[in-house]
Symmetry: C2
Subunit: 187 residues, 2 copies
């Protein structure tokens, strides 16, 4: 992995998504109640992905292992902690997405669909506690935004790097020549 | 603008974020109640952006016009309709973000912060109606996801195109030569 300062990235991503220590505690507390319902969230999510023309082919043949990975991540957002290790794992997910040629919009689309499921779950689970439900939804929004931000920043860096590789392959130019030209280029 | 099929993009982005006709109606209905509070959401959002080292410089000197544009968009998500024209406007926002060199994470980070503000607003506005609040939060999640998806897909296309321009400028290669090489390239 490149020399990423994951401490700094974690701090930055938290400030940009409003993820606080209080959210982290709230999510872990709610986890005890919500975790048994998370397999249904994963099922609902993949059922929707299978119904979309453009996403279905990416799932085909990998459904069980994808669901497993997904559920593990989902349990993680109700576990924490959201530290450098977590940031690093989300960063790797962004890189893997580029490697397997997932279109960029799969990340934000996926998060929207999962958030839809979680909003329904939270309101069903805490019907008489609107304040608690609202706090928890804020926490969920923040942690999902935090995860998305890191994943997408990594995706962007990886996809620009893949674009350079493609350019070099097409032009037959060596990386060394390109780097020399880039070093000499001023505009 | 490139030949984008905005009818198809709208359909796709709705399926991938769960945005429905019912959401659209719900958002417009809630708009009557919520619109007077939206300037505070915009204020809160920009106050946070001003507190973040990396975002502050992008705002400096443009605060009033940015707030105005932002509030207009925010009112739009409580107005609708979310059709081809709306999709086209979000697509343009993605292109503008690349043109003014906004980092990729500003889009998802921004959406997270705005959603935080809206969750708080909705729970404050409908304290005795948890079901209505939950439905409205789903609708808000879906329409923000819808907007983000289109904006990011556009950002990605624009940034890869800008990257190719950069490669061509650095290497001094003409676009015609590159296109010929790309056409001949098989791998």
């Amino acid at each position: 992995m490149e020399e990423i300062d994951f401490t700094e990235l974690t701090r930055y991503a938290k400030s940009f998504t409003g993820l606080t220590k209080e959210h982290e505690i709230l999510l872990a507390e709610a986890g005890t109640t919500l975790k048994p319902a998370l397999p249904d969230v994963t099922e609902g999510f993949y059922a929707t992905l299978q119904s979309i023309d453009k996403t279905a082919p990416f799932i085909d043949g990998h459904l069980d292992s994808l669901k497993q990975t997904h559920l593990k991540w989902l349990e993680g957002i109700f576990t924490g902690p959201f530290n450098e290790t977590y940031a690093q794992s989300m960063y790797q997910v962004g890189q893997v997405h580029v490697k397997v040629h997932l279109p960029v919009e799969f990340m934000s689309g996926g998060m929207s669909l999962i958030a839809n499921e979680l909003i329904a779950l939270v309101s069903k689970t805490y019907p008489g506690e609107p304040e608690r439900a609202a706090d928890l939804l804020s926490a969920i929004n923040a942690v999902m935004g935090f995860s998305l931000l890191i994943m997408q920043q990594s995706y962007q860096i990886s996809s620009l790097s893949a674009e350079l590789d493609r350019f070099l392959a097409i032009t037959g130019m060596s990386r060394k020549l390109f780097n020399n030209l880039a070093g000499a280029y001023h505009n």
